[in-house]
Symmetry: C2
Subunit: 336 residues, 2 copies
DNA sequence: TTGAAAGCGCTAACAG
DNA sequence: CTGTTAGCGCTTTCAA
């Protein structure tokens, strides 16, 4: 039982393939094909169970109706929710999503993009990592539709959408300060991404707004990618030596491991130390006590990213800014 | 700046496209093309930055070097780890993975498979859900390479790989029984999948092995997909009315929510109730007390699945059984 | 040893 | 109003 092709059904009806093609693409007016012929074609196609051969269409048109979502870690928490809303949103526009992860390796990112280009993907949704800058620029130069998600490069021309990192940290800090905490530590990582810088900036600004002196030794910068064990140990040592009244984790994986550190130190939350974290995590609601966190508006990020991309691909035009930051939500719980 | 095509480089060298094609595919011997010509061709292709047009190749050969991984929930925990190992393993064989989720809707699964077939994917890795049976059978009939992961249909001809569910539950039960618990409740769900049945069977067998009478009222069967709130409430009510000495959760999401129920009841683990769970979760290590769980050998499942699929695709031949169950690992922690 | 040529299935310019 | 035809870029058979 072979596939039925356009040609097959054209032959059966004794009409030309082009007639069939146009009708089936709903463009019969352009060819001014008679209504009864159109009906016959549609009926025959349906009866034969015809479905277009996407690969052939793609080869012919240079389009694939596929967009790629490239993240650095497909098993991450943020990705999981993002993927879902993006998929749903993209489907509404008749596209499909191809998920890819670079596993935090730049080389793999390049390779991946080359490959995706070979597969004729129509657009890219990318959560950029350091060093990807030139790659993305070259995509831009080739006029490929690209939208950056969750981060961006300063000065980039690419549209992007991400949470307002500074605002998020400010909200968390305000919450801490109004709780009476003044010796507030920050645990961040050394990833050279805008969002980390913004979070640090938010921290500093909040301190000065609260007239608290900034102390460099209250900041721990961990190496990204170091083994969990080491991370936990480092955070423990840091907290032990600094004895802060409160600690703000600048990423959810830092918070998750930080909790472990605090547990090892046998400190009670919030009695011995208050805890707050940027980016929420399933665990934080369930933890005893529940951990206060800043939640990213993942859904909104997803839908906005798709909208921007559709605009870039000329599918749907939107007005207004193409570089967007969205407000986060402070989830006050029991750890402060 | 246009793509360079095979033809371009053939034209530049004044040779035929077929010569170029054969050389670039490393099949020059078959055509017995001269070594110096081959070298020239390779050099020119490299200089021109030639990369084959995958879509054209796919159209011509009917192959795409893409394998689809279809799961019901892409944001699930199990998927995350599975995806990573599968991706790594598949790449070793020169293939790519296309991740897809059906969102637990059968209709979407069908649609998805049709689509993937249109894109010429070469093989399928599927975590089956009830009702998918006929879909998978039809794939099998079309001689499409398919490997089932994490579940299977009784009597299916398709190769599959999954954890030994019965063994896992037995290990957990033995652990519980040897801890002196005799009134052991089981919280499961109503999904009509082999693995749930196997878990139930493991539970019953373990009871009789320990000479404990099976009591139907010690089993709670929750509706899959009911809202979290409801689930938590149901588990609370169940535990409260049955007052078991220990509870075994048959899936990790049940465990996670069960923990919440226990917390609401203000019961102390393991003092008031011992807890064990099938399928580990990040949370269980961090929870206080840490929760004993049966860990699935996800990596092994992934690599085995890929191996089986490669065999099905005729890429690599393996011997031995094609329907495989792998032993789980009991992670003893503090909740028993 | 090499090259010409026939398509894979579809679209779209062009000619009736 | 409708049909012919020329490819998209590549593989592979067949002839030279």
């Amino acid at each position: 039982m072979k596939r039925v092709s356009l040609k097959d059904i054209a032959a059966k009806l004794g009409v030309s393939t082009s007639a069939v093609s146009f009708v089936l693409n709903g463009r019969e007016k352009e060819m001014r094909i008679g209504a009864k012929l159109a009906a016959r074609i549609r009926k025959a196609a349906h009866q034969a169970g015809y479905t277009p051969h996407k690969v052939a269409v793609s080869l012919r048109t240079g389009k694939s109706k596929i967009v790629a979502l490239i993240v650095d870690d497909i098993s991450g928490n943020f990705f999981a929710s993002l993927a879902r809303t993006i998929e749903k949103e993209i489907e509404r526009h008749g596209y499909r999503v191809f998920y890819c992860s670079t596993g935090n390796q730049l080389a793999k990112g390049e390779e991946l993009i080359r490959l995706l280009l070979q597969y004729q993907v129509d657009g890219f949704l990318i959560t950029p990592v350091p060093g990807m800058e030139s790659l993305i620029d070259s995509l831009l130069q080739q006029k490929r539709p690209v939208v950056l998600v969750d981060s961006y490069f300063p000065g980039t021309k690419a549209p992007y959408v991400l949470v307002d990192n500074r605002l998020g940290i400010s909200a968390a800090m305000k919450n801490l300060v109004s709780g009476g905490y003044r010796k507030i530590a920050l645990v961040m990582n050394d990833v050279k991404l805008v969002q980390m810088q913004e979070r640090l900036r938010g921290y500093k600004e909040s301190l000065s707004a609260a007239k608290i002196r900034f102390r460099k030794d209250l900041i721990l910068t961990t190496a990204y990618g170091e083994p969990d064990q080491v991370l936990v140990r480092n955070i423990s040592a840091f907290l032990k030596s600094q004895q802060p009244q409160a600690v703000l984790f600048a990423a959810n994986y830092l918070g998750v491991h930080g909790l472990e550190s605090i547990h090892q130190l046998q400190w009670e939350i919030p009695h011995d130390i208050a805890v707050s974290c940027f980016d929420d995590h399933e665990l934080f609601q369930l933890y005893k006590p529940a951990i206060t966190a800043i939640e990213q508006p993942v859904e909104e990020i997803g839908t906005t990213a798709v909208q921007l991309l559709m605009h870039e691909m000329g599918v749907e035009s939107i007005h207004g800014k193409k570089q967007i930051t969205l407000p986060p939500v402070l989830r006050e719980r029991d750890s402060v």
